[in-house]
Symmetry: C2
């Protein structure tokens, strides 16, 4: 399969590498010049479960895609949420009427953006539990195991979805065809919506936040806001199961010892966050359905305030 | 007038010093041993508008008040909010049926605590704009100007209130008899309720917080929650005037360059905050009147989470 990874950061590089190693024709697309140049000069350098690997995979700027018109079977979207629209705009030349587009971004509401550029029957939505870390330009660290669920947005797209699942499985990416991928996307958004903004604002790792006496109240209130909005979109979240799922991350000897990625983005690297696509997306949908989402709203505002305070300096 | 200052931190020391210099018999009560011992050994050392002053004012632990039974005309309460109940319990021996008790603590709902120990006709409530800074045990820095508004809680107490106003004025403390001191107390609580928790959680000074694009939304929402609850207690806050009053503190060349006291308590000194007596008090009253106060609630919870994260370490 000819696959373009649109957004070749840590996660995009993982998918690109594994699909490439499985014999697919992969190209990596990214706007980060140092990264693209490093990959083209020295290959994608990967610490792959402890082993150093270098793979020659062609990397491009999204604006250089003229030559790939009509030859890409599948685009996998892996940009930061706020770069999605811009990426789709740039890669319009390679989106033919047969090109499938699999969106694997974190957060909610990306389908609305993708639909501006892609016919609905070609859109696949997914959700992945794989992780990946960026070391520097051209260099990533991949460790552990994961899986990726996906589903066609429109009924007619099921065959294409199954084909992509097969290719992902052949590459060891553990693809799963989901009958209700929106549920998984919302469930993961609840994890990010309860941990990312709070740990960022509190400058805490997941275990520290998890250990406070008010955490149960905060995560329940946020998950209830997510659930009330999701219900309006036909997704009936099991709030109690999700509360327990969030709490399972608090173990200080496991995931709990880490800071969520939003904390790394803002507090460590002074970069803008994806809050508008997590809690902020719930507020936006809530306003549309006339549902109050005050916890999501204040959390989104506090994260934006912190962005302006830190990044303006 | 024989006056006991119950809680002789920075503000208590200011009132104690000025009332003492005006010829009143003042005693200072505090639980901080180093402070009490330093005052008794070397006097209260004050940088008073730039000039160094030392005044001999007797200082005691609240538990040592047996000898002062029936001789104190007025107690001025200036503890931290969470120490008020304990202080009143300790000084019960000096509260006779004629002793007036003026409560000048920041925050809301202190009258409920005072009423557990003091007859309603002896209770005066007040609100002060004076400032003061603690340098170390026995040593404070007093700068600038201020005033103090007060009012009797029950109609019969007006004469006593006017007497205390006169004594405050003779001491240069600019006492003002207020016909609606609860309005002033709520208005000041709105300032603290919009700036203290937010600047603490965001680790920002007032000007930095004031400059963000979400600040207007945050302070309006919080003030609206305060106003909805205050209305149930017969206090009709002018929200728009208070929003502008809060915004007047944002000037980076004035008050704006400072961090609110809550930030100093928690972020600088890792001490518990008074959030339960500001935003937390509004939540508690809101629950009683069946009024939603989600911004106050999440802010209170985030400050408590930060307390537990910082102070547990």
């Amino acid at each position: 399969m000819r696959i373009a990874i649109a957004g070749a950061g840590a996660m995009g590089s993982r998918f690109g590498l594994m699909l490439h190693k499985a014999g697919n024709e992969v190209i990596l697309l990214d706007k980060w010049a140092d990264h693209v140049n490093a990959i083209n000069k020295s290959g994608l350098r990967v610490n792959y479960n402890g082993e150093d690997v270098v793979e020659k995979i062609p990397a491009f700027f999204p604006s250089e895609m003229e030559g790939y018109k009509g030859v890409i079977d599948t685009v996998i979207l892996f940009t930061k949420a706020m770069q999605l629209d811009d990426m789709l705009q740039s890669i319009k030349p390679i989106l033919s009427k047969d090109t499938k587009v699999l969106c694997l971004l974190n957060g909610l509401g990306h389908e609305d953006t993708v639909e501006k550029y892609v016919d609905k029957e070609n859109i696949l939505l997914g959700n992945t539990m794989w992780t990946a870390g960026l070391i520097g330009p051209g260099e990533v660290k991949l460790f552990g195991n994961g899986e990726v669920e996906l589903q066609n947005v429109y009924p007619g797209g099921k065959e294409a979805a199954l084909e992509v699942v097969k290719v992902l499985n052949e590459a060891g990416l553990n693809g799963i065809y989901s009958e209700n991928v929106m549920y998984s996307i919302w469930r993961k958004a609840c994890v990010n919506g309860t941990l990312n903004g709070t740990c960022t604002i509190l400058d805490a790792n997941i275990a520290s936040f998890g250990a406070t006496s008010v955490t149960d109240k905060i995560i329940r209130t946020i998950i209830n806001e997510f659930a009330a909005v999701a219900a309006k979109e036909g997704i009936n979240l099991d709030s109690e199961e999700i509360v327990n799922h969030v709490k399972s991350t608090f173990n200080p000897n496991g995931v709990g010892k880490h800071h969520p990625s939003m904390h790394q983005d803002l507090i460590k690297n002074n970069r803008l966050t994806e809050i508008d696509y997590i809690n902020g997306a719930v507020c936006k949908k809530g306003a549309k359905y006339n549902i109050q989402t005050p916890y999501c709203q204040l959390l989104t505002e506090l994260v934006h305030a912190k962005e302006e305070i830190l990044i303006a300096q």
